[in-house]
Amino acid sequence: MEWFLRADTVEHKLALMVFAILLFAGVMGAILFGVDRLRRVPLWVIVGGFLGPTFLLLLVGLVYPALSTIRGSFYDRNGSEFVGLDNYVTVFTEDNFQTVLLNTVLWVVLVPLVTTVFGLVYAYLVDRTRFESLAKALVFLPMAISMVGAGVIWKFVYEFRPDQPGVNQIGLLNQLLVLVGIDPQQFLLDAPSNTLYLIVVMIWIQAGFAMTVLSAAIKAIPDDIVEAARLDGVGGVQMFRYVTVPSIRPALVVVITTVAIVTLKVFDVVRTMTGGNFGTSVVANEFYTQAFRQFNFGLGAALAVLLFVLVIPIIAYNVRQLRLSEDVR
């Protein structure tokens, strides 16, 4: 048993990995082989073979924990005593949680908006230009970088050195400030503007996604519509405003809502860059801190449920808009 749980050498780890994949393949193979071999099996056995493992995992790993967390949010820090809505009251009334909520609102409003506008304008600008693929690839690249990596990259851009003779700034942004004669700033320490500097990082990561989806949507606009508008004398900004944007409305809605949901759950960027200190925490980071650092499971559960609840209106809006656009067609 020990062999399967504790691997401390490279060979052992790799062997364990191969074992896990083979075990999985073996179990799945046996199920499918069994389903296939039995003659005249009832339909539910076949369906069970294909869907059973998935449903087992989803029930044990997703449905049960979600319900359990909702229940836990009404209990105290150890889950032993029922406290009603106390955890939620804490989240909505205590001062430091107010900051957390306010920050989260800032993130969820600013990141999707700026990302989408930037992605749209950029996709429109580079569309059908000579450098299109290179220009897109460079903006797209941060999508492959982990949010932890992005956090480190930007922490370095914001790096601060005290403003003394003989001390050079090593962070790009402060160097630029010094060059134009402004005192260097502690970008990540000074609230409330530090939240904005963190938000920049998220926009930097997500812009590539917005650009890609919107660019594909722009390319899918039928040529005859563009031609007709051009014959009518529409051009430049007007074309963008009256032809391009309305034509890709469904894609815009998808991008805004997708980015909003990702942003709502943002954790890595905040944790890597400030650890949630200096008034920069957001709900997802506070959840981790409360649940796994303070071991206040009740409060952590309440914050997780809050995330859950906040996702729902965004998705509802998405579904509604998609329905509307399908009706129009």
């Binding site: 399967f4 749980l5 401390d8 490279v10 780890k13 990995m17 896990a20 994949i21 393949a25 389903v35 296939d36 539910w44 369906v47 073979g49 294909f50 869907l51 790993g61 967390t69 836990g72 950029y122 580079v126 059908r128 230009t129 450098f131 299109e132 693929s133 290179l134 460079l138 903006v139 797209f140 690249l141 999508m143 492959a144 982990s146 932890v148 990596g149 480190v152 990259i153 930007w154 790009l172 160097q175 930097w204 812009a207 996604f209 890609t212 989806v213 594909a216 390319k219 899918a220 894609a251 998808v254 954790f267 890595d268 890597t272 649940a291 796994f292 914050l303 997780a304 995330l307 859950f308």
Partner: protein, 307 residues
């Protein structure tokens, strides 16, 4: 570098469809190419890249230089060393080489397992006619709404009770579970697009569901599998939350991301370690991403455009 522009209509399956759209784009390219737009685009693209470039250059500069001058001095006074990488990879306090192995060991099963499960489930939803199919599919589909944060506390308790805490199994299982709803949804979309006549013909020949799945559908789904595979690979390799929660205290299991985040917190000014550390964590996803970008974009569009 990538040369392929993803020319993608929201119709994902047709590989050859690029023909028409591609020709159209090509003919348009020559007729509308504003130099001002090109220049703005290039400037933005360069601005987008500078932060990463700065850290990359820093990762190769000697420690003292990093402390005393900005990375841009590299252009006037190029000093290059591999000491930083050596120190981060094999140094006693960091030992990123073994963390790289951890990340790899975590990622492969966490990509293979959910894709296989999702393929089977998507097949059942698309091609087996059983009562309650639609309700079950909608149920699975709507599970995408559940933020993983909601599941973490009870899952950790379950793992502790099962004696799995702090082992690779917790991370493999968790990533597999969290990936399933989206994977099933995406692969189902691709699978539905396969012409029913192909499946019918196989059925006429007496093939059962298992045979149809392996010999008819699987070969046609390779692009879809690649698309989701890249997506899941990036997701797992770059994940911090799941790994931190379930393996935060197990040095034999933690992946690169956890350690980089930790370094950023505890040794935030040791850029000679942090910079190369971050790039060691980034290199594999970047390579995979650049090599398979086409598939990734396709998956992205298939998933997001449909909802």
């Amino acid at each position: 570098m990538t040369t392929t522009t993803p020319v993608m209509a929201p119709v994902p399956m047709q590989d050859r469809a690029t023909g028409r759209a591609g020709r159209r784009a090509a003919s348009a390219k020559t007729k509308l190419s504003s130099p001002a737009a090109s220049i703005i685009a290039i400037v933005i693209a360069v601005l987008w890249t500078v932060p990463t470039l700065g850290l990359l250059i820093t990762s190769f500069r000697p420690e003292l230089d990093i402390r005393q001058s900005g990375w841009w001095t590299f252009f006037t006074d190029p000093q290059v060393t591999l000491f930083n990488y050596n120190e981060v990879l094999y140094g006693g306090s960091t030992n990123f080489a073994s963390l790289f192995v951890n990340s790899l060991v975590i990622t492969l099963p966490a990509v293979v397992i959910p894709i296989s499960l999702a393929l089977l489930a998507a097949y059942a939803f698309a091609w087996i006619d059983f009562p309650g199919r639609n309700i079950l599919f909608v149920a699975v589909f709507s599970l995408q709404v559940v933020p993983i944060q909601v599941t973490l506390i009870p899952l950790l308790t379950l793992y502790v009770d099962a004696g799995l805490a702090g082992s690779f199994w917790t991370i493999w299982l968790s990533h597999s579970i969290f990936a399933l709803p989206l994977a099933i949804f995406l692969l189902h979309n691709f699978m539905k697009d396969i012409p029913a006549s192909l499946v019918e013909a196989a059925r006429m020949d007496g093939a059962g569901h298992v045979k149809i799945f392996f010999s008819v559908l699987l070969p046609l789904l390779t692009p879809a599998i690649a698309a989701f595979g890249v997506f899941q690979f990036l997701w797992v390799w770059n994940d911090l939350l799941v790994a931190l929660t379930f393996a935060g205290g197990a040095p034999d299991v933690v992946p690169l991301t956890v350690r980089v985040a930790e370094l950023a917190g505890t040794r935030g000014s040791d850029w000679y370690l942090l910079a190369p550390g971050a790039f060691i964590a980034m290199i594999l996803p970047l390579v995979v991403f650049l090599a398979l970008q086409r598939y990734f974009v396709r998956g992205l569009l298939a998933g997001s455009v449909k909802g």
